[in-house]
């Protein structure tokens, strides 16, 4: 343990310059679009203009984003070249969750079609398998988790998640139950 329990936080240096550059670029883009993306209302004071607060926010993002960029450039370890090998390696790590984003979006799109319970019962163990848990205990635990989430949130708490298209093919009594609780 270090001696100072309250160190000034700086964070790791890898990837900082990439983030700062991207942020500053985005901030400049936002500010440069102020005229296109907001309207100027006639007979209205400046602070009540629809574009006033986006303008304040955009200007702040540019100012502080550039200040942050400048503070990184002055840092000892971030002298030229601007983007180093470890920055590129960090950027590759940033892209890794895209796979999980795809998993999540497939799950989102599957729910209204397949149903909340079946989709969750497939999603949770499949992702558990993908993450390297191969023991039957973990896979059954993920199935149990999926079922309990659906039962608690949709069945018990009545959270608004629409019934699936596939439930329409169920027999009458079961269909109403599935649409309401599953």
């Amino acid at each position: 343990m270090s001696d100072d329990p309250f160190p000034a936080s700086k964070g790791p240096q890898r990837g900082q310059i990439l983030f700062a550059l991207a942020f500053a670029g985005f901030a400049i883009f936002i500010l440069s679009n102020l005229g296109n993306q907001t309207t100027w209302a006639a007979r209205t004071k400046l602070f009540a203009q629809p574009g006033f607060w986006p303008g304040v926010a955009g200007a702040g993002m540019v100012l502080f984003g550039l200040l942050h960029l400048r503070s990184l450039r002055r840092g000892k370890g971030l002298r030229r070249p601007w983007i180093r090998r470890e920055d590129r390696a960090e950027a590759r790590i940033w892209l890794q969750p895209l796979e999980y984003t795809a998993w999540f979006m497939i799950y989102v799109l599957a729910v209204p079609r397949v149903g909340y319970l079946p989709a969750t019962m497939i999603f949770a163990p499949a992702l558990t398998w993908r993450l390297g848990y191969r023991s039957p205990r973990m896979l059954w635990a993920s199935v149990a988790f999926g079922v309990s989430v659906v039962l608690i949130f949709k069945g018990l708490l009545g959270v608004k998640i629409p019934g699936a298209a596939i439930y329409e093919y169920l027999p009458d009594g079961l269909r109403a139950f599935a649409l309401r609780y599953l």
Partner: protein
Amino acid sequence: MDLIFAGFEVLYRWDVALALLVGSIGGVMIGAVPGVGPAVAIAILLPATFSMDPIVGLTLLLGIYGSSMYGGAIPAILINTPGTAVNALTTYDGYPMTLRGEGRKAISIAYTASFIGAIISIFCLISLAPVLARVAPMFGAREIFLAALLGLVLVVVSHRGQSAIAAALACLGIFIGTIGLEPVKYTKRYTFDQSWLASGVDLIVVVLGLYAISQAFMLMQGDDVKTRRVPLGGGMFQGLREVARHPRVTGVSSGFGVMMGIIPGVGEFTSQFLAYTYAQKTSKRPEDFGHGSVEGLIASESANNSVPAAAMVPLLALGIPGEELTAMMLAVFYVHNVVPGPGLFQNQMDFVMAIYLALLFLNILVMMFLLFSTKALMTVARLPNRFLGVGILTLSFVGIYSLRNSATDCLMAAAFGLFGFILKRLSLPIVPIIMGIVLGGIMEAKLRIAMARVKTPFDFIDRPIAMALFIFIILIIAFQIRSAVIESKRRKEAQWSTRSASTRFGTLLSRRRDFLLTERGKRLRAERSMLSRPSTDRD
């Protein structure tokens, strides 16, 4: 006293009692799982409370808010991993105690210190209520604007060493809050002609993305952490005796927690900093701090647990959240048609008192629960990380999709999740974004109202509270600029390895010129000496 009875009447229902029980026990369990945290839990559960009565839904989420820090102390002490971010300091003295076989005693101290901190804070809150009821109406639009601005400034400056990016992220939060239809003129702002942006970006979507989905990504992308199993030593009731031996540290630390909780934007970390520093400086054994000091543990736990109740003061009295969790609680209040602010104190004082009493009861419930369930909670704390990631992702879906049944919201939340993942990888703060969204909206609305009655700039601060807030903001900004200048000077001194010589730009240029002239002089003298040989070289 009438107010207290009125509060009791609001709470005297079986569904409220059940919500309080579920919320407080659930909060402890959520706090005990490293990597989940109360913000994630509140965001996930908020849509589930839509159909409940306001007081039931609020009590449930209040239970999670008020009890998570108790649970967070368990893994912090036993496996050196804080359950919630504010329990990080607990690892400092808690884990060394576990290593020397006093785990159970450390946990008991943490519970007792937390409990006393929370109770002191709640009693302060209850006794302050009549004062607040009198002061809150003095806050008009301009005072609320300035208080919100103060909160934002404090959030920024509290990120030591990262103020510039914290300010930039706060501005990003303000910007995100402005996307969509402008509320007065109904004109589009930054929608880029996309219909899905017209209704704006929902706070819950941002919170779930930045906190829950990003955390799921972090857990799934990392490895499972192997934790050491250390035998627990000491008695579960030893904490009472230890805390009773240090009433000064407990009292002062709780006091810091109350004060820092009341000031918007400051929160647990500053209160812990002040309490821990105070405890160390006044201790007879300061060398023990960081190596299993009982006083250190008491200071950190009583300071952090006295903040949640105190943080309800600016939230309920002015409608201004002090930190991320109260920002989320503000969303919870709005969802349940309870609008915090001076009006609440004037018209629904029984409701305010009911919330205070709920906080009191939940602390008692949690304390009773914890004394007998610590061992079972350890099993929860040891869940494999990546499996936990699957769980958070599955639960995030409920929170986001149940808002509007919109796949676009889920996509936006996933995008914010990616952004949050990058911020977490770089150890950059997320809180300023949330505070920017919440406080930016308040500031926009209040500035518009305030400026309608202002003729000259001085009119804006001509009332005592507005003037005091304005001076406070200016002082903080001036202090921050001074600190930045000193820090920059120190960095330059370190870079140039000199303390005595000036590091000003002009002096550096002048020094460089002198160096170049000296070098040129040396070169010229060397050339001349080659042309005119010394007399000793003659034949």
